[in-house]
Symmetry: C2
DNA sequence: CTGAGTGCAAAACATTTGCATCCAG
DNA sequence: CTGGATGCAAATGTTTTGCACTCAG
């Protein structure tokens, strides 16, 4: 997916940011691990194997940057740490089933909530830009 | 609302836990601040005014305990800290609109998602025990 | 060249834990 | 009395920051 890299390059250019090797590498790792929900530490461990001279702080700063640019999203599974995933290119929302037993996270899509969302926005005069839904329970294995 | 205190007392008794003055005080503060979403630090500040000899660690331990007992719920607004609120007595779910600009949190109820939830549970063979929904956007004031 | 980006170590926070002391039942 | 509960300080774990050095544009 060479396009993602080009996207990043352009995005960075518009803000006078630079496309460094570290940023390229972290983007690549995110691409290689789509569907997983990596923490900064996870990424740091992977990154170290390929380029030992990279700092954890840079991982954090890069994830922060990518998040600001909108190419990744921060996830929060009520753990002690943040996780990250590549944003969905389109508007296809996807959300999570979180197993309270083993912590497994299952993804699902929805297209049902639009009406509900519109209604809600009206009622509270609130301009909704995104939503995040999590269902908690027991997964197949843990029941 | 004397009943809440009695509830707590009974709950504690069944597990051989004790009803200490600190636990009473923290329950009272939670009752006095319904609808707000207090952090441990918030509670600690309030608690200190009324009983200067109480430790932050006790606040955390008490909130943890209350959470286990199910009388409060932990909230996570993608901040750096946890917040807490008294659980809804009945099954009435309530969720949040989070303003991305000012951080304001607006509550709303829903009874719409049941069907969606059932369907989802079926499809993924996932036993859902609760759900958490957050919508993000701009509130009335910040638009 | 030059300012943005990086690595490293130190700092900053929220939360947890060890331990001696205290007190509810 | 006695084990659960507390206060304090120290420890932990994640994320952030200061600063001198590096490198992409």
């Amino acid at each position: 997916m060479e396009s993602k890299l080009q996207d990043l390059k352009s995005l960075l250019a518009t803000k006078n940011y630079k496309l460094t090797s570290q940023r390229k590498l972290i983007l690549q790792i995110l691409l290689d691990h789509q569907g997983e929900h990596l923490s900064a530490e996870d990424i740091y461990q992977i990154v170290k194997q390929e380029d030992s001279g990279i700092g954890l702080a840079t991982v954090y700063r890069t994830l922060e940057l990518f998040s600001d640019l909108g190419i990744i999203q921060q996830l929060n599974f009520d753990e002690d740490r943040r996780r990250y995933e590549l944003g969905t290119n389109n508007d296809e929302h996807h959300h999570h089933l979180v197993c309270e037993e083993c912590g497994r996270v299952i993804e699902f899509n929805d297209e049902i909530l639009e009406a509900f969302e519109d209604d809600l926005a009206d009622k509270h005069n609130f301009k909704i830009t995104q939503h995040r839904i999590k269902f908690y329970g027991r997964c197949k294995e843990c029941q």
